[in-house]
């Protein structure tokens, strides 16, 4: 039996990371998805985004193209011109299309075969988790494949594609080449035209972010912001709730706004 013990120990040690396989956290996540009571921000967030997206479609400055004729056979293309467009994909994944950028996908293909979208320019993604159906973004230079995560792909420059991961994990490759790298939360990488292999940058501090809060308790708000910007935010007053939406704003800007709106003082520690 000792030989087996040795084998098992070697296996466990190879994969051991402190904080992983956290049963309590996993159960919490499970409750969050299936329990009746939840903290209030996650599920309603998607409805709010869908509402925003619908509103943005009416406001000027964006163009929504929907092709349903024989040539295009169910392809949906979304284009943002002057202001960012938020859109909810059929599986509740969310995209933020920045100005002068577009996203294109096949409706039936997305629903029934593969969650694949084509990208031009710069788009942020918040992908709904589904381990059975990976989400793929195909740009002109890069291809990103994920399970469920938040990340941004920037192909505005014709020669370089930038990919930045906020949460989760993505697999990034140069379009047309098999070599890929795995990026985790906080990491970023480039795909340079002409180079077969993506260049990884390692963990970088996030500077700006998009957030939507809907009657979210302040401690949860601070928790989310702390995780994204890699800082520790604290506030004496834990009873307040926040309903706000922040687009591409820096942490200091966001803190200032929250302090003014809720009349609280927030402490920031690196």
């Amino acid at each position: 039996m000792e030989k087996i013990e040795e084998k098992c120990l070697k296996f466990v040690l190879h994969y051991y990371q402190q904080g992983k396989l956290d049963t309590r956290k996993a159960l919490q996540k499970f409750r969050h998805s299936h329990g009746e009571v939840y903290s209030g921000s996650f599920v309603r967030w998607y409805w709010m985004v869908a509402g925003i997206a619908a509103m943005l479609c009416i406001v000027g400055g964006i163009r929504l193209l929907l092709h349903t004729d024989a040539d295009h056979k169910g392809w949906v293309k979304l284009v943002a011109e002057k202001s960012p467009v938020e859109y909810v994909l059929p599986d509740s994944s969310k995209v933020v299309i920045y100005p002068q950028s577009s996203v294109r996908y096949h409706l039936q293909g997305y629903l029934h075969h593969r969650r694949e979208v084509q990208l031009e320019g710069e788009v942020g993604f918040s992908v709904r988790h589904d381990s059975l159906r990976p989400f793929t973004v195909i740009g002109r230079l890069s291809e990103v494949r994920v399970l469920g995560t938040e990340f941004r792909v920037n192909e505005v420059s014709g020669d370089t594609a930038f990919v930045q991961v906020k949460t989760g994990k993505v697999r990034l490759s140069t379009l047309g080449h098999p070599d890929a790298v795995i990026l985790t939360a906080g990491m970023s990488a480039q795909v340079v035209k002409g180079q077969k292999h993506p260049q990884v940058n390692g963990k970088k501090k996030m500077e700006k972010g998009n957030f939507v809060f809907d009657n979210t308790p302040l401690p949860k708000v601070l928790e989310e912001l702390s995780a994204y910007f890699h800082v520790r935010l604290k506030c004496e007053n834990t009873s307040k709730r926040l309903t706000a939406s922040f687009k591409a704003q820096s942490l200091d800007e966001i803190i200032e706004i929250i302090e003014k709106v809720l009349k609280v003082k927030i402490e920031k520690q690196e």
Binding site: Y15, A26, L27, F30, S131
Partner: protein, 172 residues
Amino acid sequence: MTVSVMKKNGINFDEVFKLYYRPLCLYAIHYVRDVDIAEDIVQDCLSLLWEKGGEVEHLKSYLYVMVRNYSLNYLKREAVFDMNCSPSDLEETLPDEELEEYSVMEARMWTAIDALPERCREVFLLHKRDGMTYKEIAELLHISVHTVDNHICKALRLVREGVKALYSFFFG
């Protein structure tokens, strides 16, 4: 804050997590070779069971079969080439039934490592996982080789005891 216990179709999911989450994850890791993906797979299996499962007779076997199927589906679809992992480092493949048994032992070992005192675990991992010599560890942490030896012996003892424990809840 949720107060209710997650129960459905006669299955107490709180207990399922406590008893099976870690073993199932380690079982999945044998196939997919990645901790995060394994955790995702186990979450998805348990979610599916919650949403669609009816009465299940032999829950433990059912869960293992589900996790195995999800893992194999994942492998079929993904030819993921993780630069950080070299297949030659890992043990040869074992038959499924044995993997199931081992996963329980491995879960106990993981729990035991979690429970080690901070410095003890650090030294243990540096030696057993990262392959540093006693001398290298001693230099790195500014402690004596004798202390390194103590830490490692202690860790091995505690891990072995953890494996033998009759009641082991994989609550981390």
